[in-house]
Amino acid sequence: MNLIAAGLGVVVAGAAAGAATGALAPARARPLATGLLTTTVGLGGVLAGAAALAGQAWSMTVPGILPLGAATLAVDPLSGAFLLLIGAVTVAAGVYSVGYTGPGGRHATDDDAAAGAAAAPGAEPAGQRAVDAGTGHVEAAASRTAQAVLPLFVATMLLVPAAASVSTLLVLWELMALTSLVLVLAEHRLRRSVRDAGLWYGAMTHAGAVAILLGLVVFAAAAGGESFAALRAGAADLSRGTRSLVFVLIFAGFGSKAGMVPLHVWLPRAHPEAPSHVSALMSAAMVNLGLYGLIRVGFDLLGGGPRWWGLLVLAVGGLSALYGVLQASVATDLKRLLGYSTTENVGLMLIGVGAAGVFAAEGNRALAGLLMAAAVLHAVNHAAFKTLLFLGAGSVLRATGLRDLDRLGGLAARMPITTALVAFGALAAAALPPGNGFVSEWLLLQGLIHSLTGTGPPTVVVAVSMPLAVGVVALTAGLGVATFVKAFGVGFLARPRSAPAAVAVESPPSMRAGMALAAAACLGLALAPVAAAAPLARVLQVMPTVRDGAPLADSGVRLQLVGIAGSMSPLLIAIGLLVGTAATAALARWAGRGLPRRVAPVWGCGGTRLDSRMEYTATSFAEPLTRVFDDVLRPEQDVVVTPYTESRYLIESVRFRHRVPDRLEARLYPPLLGAAARWGRWSRPVANGSVHRYLAYGFVGMLAVLVVVRLSG
């Protein structure tokens, strides 16, 4: 029997069972039951995806399930890649959720923040009070609604890439948006900021859905059919204007889901405020569906387009990468930092897709294939390390109730396993060897630097845009390193900077297992990316303008590019590092035989009492970067000096506040929101509260539609 069908069957059945269990099971059994059922859903996705990548194909039409017609599902290798990715993220998040939603642990609340602020200057009793206050809170992430919706959310996510008609895609897309919105709002009783985040998310995701709807409806109308097969067949007959209109609309729509600048504003709010396993699902899995939609419609259904499409995507990608990483490098909230880093990585993927589009339009299929493969591989790599990092942030949050890096620290001694796993995730996210992020960034760079060495001189567009793209990718990589050194170094190392961080304990086994699964995926992708060569080649087959066989050769331990001179061996680099480290350690041990290592008080330049308030914080770590980029970031700071009443020269207290607002949001959105509000006020007389009047609007509207239909028919 077909493994894809089996996998999707498991997905649907698991989701139904999970939703039922979540809604009906007693509170005590709920975390384990729904966690395991969610994991099952994920396993189904992994099975279906792996089968599709191995070359199986499958399609199905369910008649009458949707109001307007049949629901059509089909799975090809491109769908398979995303099914596998989302399924794998789901498996890790599902296992993790068992412990995360289980009893014990503390989740951030507004009360915590207040208590923490009061307790900040090392006042032990107040800090202790904060700890006690935290444990008593309702476990919002374990609520009946949240537990029941989680399996539905992952199932709709898994079905989106399997959708094979416009209506199926749109319905599943909306369902995914709704279920995720419910999950984002899970902790709305604990923190005010959750409601705000939910509002932004709801508004942006629906605006995006409208853009997708418009784009696809225009496409379907012009192509004369709504199934993907009909769209593919009809795409060639579309006028240039229609094609471009469709592309721009779906790029905006899918891009807003992917979190590209300037439609990213919901992402750094919604991803941090959701429960952490949901954050992981949203940031590692759901954003990739934006990329999927872009590739599916732009490269498969529309079959590629003129060069400016690629340039548009490239430019937006470059902007997203830079803006995302800049904001991440100065962020102090751990989960917000990870959210901005998602925008950064989506930007890198868009750079790959955009450059692939440029080369596809120029007929350079080898480079287009390589860059597209780099983008897809980066999506997979990003999913692996972002899952790990969000789950790690969740473990920290659960253990301390804190997301603020300025108050964390000292976790290496208290949560050793979480720290080690997060260290590996941070290494991957910083795109350093031997992490997996490095491999896909390397591929991306290889694609970009070979742009000038084709046959004949490069075109002006390529010659101008590719060096800039390399500059952007490189600066992004550099700042990404700064971001994750800060996140790991300040968040986990040195001594604790607050009382809750000082009493942190290691997470329960299921959470560690969830993180370990994600870390294992990172490790596998880091050491054996050559294994991805064949599946990637199949993914590229879907796109007519980039189809060019395998971009990578499966040459044992070396990652060898095909048709382009370039090779690198992540496995041998890792082995070399391991051997070198071991040899160095052995040398040092041999040299120091008989003289054991001593633990001594920190050398504080003679000062005897160094306390944790003298440590560098995330804010101070990022200060030089904030200054270097202050023309872009425009940090806000205010200093309030309160003197004693006796004399203004005696200072009682100094309050210093430093904040880096999201400048794009602050500049772009208030005018839009203001316009919307004005429009609302203007249309107020139309809505006077009378039910009869509203019914009359509906009646008149219906009559108008009937008249129009009659006249046009």
Binding site: S329, G410, A431, L432, P433, W442, L445, L448, I449, T453, P457, P467, V470, G471, A474, L475, G478, V481, A482, V485, F488, G489, V490, L493, A494, R495, R558, A565, G566, S567, M568, S569, L572, I573, G576, L577, L578, G580, T581, A583, T584, A585, A588, A591, G592, L595, P596, R597, R598, A600, V602, W603, L610, E615, Y616, S620, F621, L625, R627, V628
Partner: protein
């Protein structure tokens, strides 16, 4: 039979290269200090002084500050390992290496950055204000130097069509006129700025400073003692040697052997040593004329070198 003989020869070449670089790196550091001393009218401690310092420090007690973790102990080892790996894969003596294709130019850059990161994380792990300060500054400089070094690499590899190190060196060897082309000159200037920034030399950082507030690299390693310190110092001498060696072979590749037979290798080793010593002495002499810059002028320097990198890329296709 001959195939295995070649492999053995190539492996021997890699070993010889490692021995040469590791043995020579402290001597290069000593030489640079000596050049400085002579220009300042002093006698100097002699070229071998860094080796004497290292031998002594290896025998001393290592200390871990209270409150730090395994990261503090692991960092010097990872730093040294990453640098050793570069020293093994780079085509310093011969372009025929069994390790070619393990790490290309971009991987080497990433490995250098890995070393920087290891030390920065350790600086944060000590929990002192100076450790954090050093880490923050070092990472800022490294992050801003990254675009330059990748663009310089882009300019070099755009001409050859590959970023593999041996291919770059061979490309330069087969077209020696390229040495004086604007693209390689501009890339060389950009690369030189990056070397200065990455190895913490003047005017970016003063390796001889005692004043904590002006430190970048030193501030991160203030807590290391004994054998840990020896590893850190060996690694920083090695990083300098490796970077100068890469510069020497990428921009002036003459003398690099294209086989793995002993005689050319010997010649290559001697020429390599001469080139690196000349570059090191020039760098040390240049430093005598420089004062350290304010930290916030460093981005200006790096923006300038970024521009050079970009011009190098552009020149490689406008003046081709």
């Amino acid at each position: 039979m001959t195939g295995s003989a070649v492999t053995v020869g190539a492996l021997a070449a890699v070993t010889a290269q490692l021995v040469l670089v590791v043995g020579g790196a402290p001597l290069l550091a000593g030489l640079m200090r000596q050049v400085r001393a002579r220009l300042e009218g002093r006698v100097g401690a002699g070229v071998g002084q860094p080796w004497r310092d290292l031998r002594k420090q290896l025998g001393k007690e290592a200390i871990r500050p209270d409150g730090s973790s395994w990261v503090f102990t692991a960092a010097p080892r990872v730093l040294l390992a990453s640098t050793l790996l570069i020293a093994a894969v780079a085509p310093f003596l011969s372009t025929v290496s069994p390790l070619d294709g393990v790490a290309d130019l971009f991987a080497v850059v990433a490995l250098l950055l890995l070393g920087t990161v290891a030390l920065a994380v350790a600086g944060l792990d000590t929990g002192t204000a100076f450790g954090g300060m050093g880490a923050s500054r070092e990472i800022t400089v490294a992050a801003l130097a990254e675009p330059t070094i990748l663009l310089a690499g882009f300019a070099l590899s755009a001409r050859v069509g590959s970023s593999n190190l041996a291919a770059l060196v061979e490309g330069m060897l087969t077209a020696p006129g390229q040495v004086l082309s604007p693209a390689s000159l501009l890339a060389a200037v950009a690369f030189a700025v990056v070397v200065v920034a990455e190895t913490g030399r003047l005017p970016v950082d003063n390796p001889a400073t005692h004043l904590e507030l002006t430190m970048i690299h030193e501030a991160m390693v203030l807590e290391y003692a004994g054998r840990d310190l020896a590893l850190v110092e060996l690694a920083s001498a090695l990083r300098l040697t490796v970077l100068l060696g890469l510069g020497a072979n990428l921009f002036l590749p003459w003398g690099v052997a294209t086989t793995a037979s002993p005689l050319p290798l010997l010649g290559a080793a001697m020429l390599f040593a001469v080139k690196v010593v000349a570059f090191g002495a020039a760098l040390a002499a240049f430093e005598v004329f420089m004062a350290k810059w304010r930290l916030f002028r460093v981005p200006e320097l790096l923006a300038g070198s970024f521009l050079f990198g970009l011009l190098a890329v552009s020149a490689s296709f406008f003046l081709a």
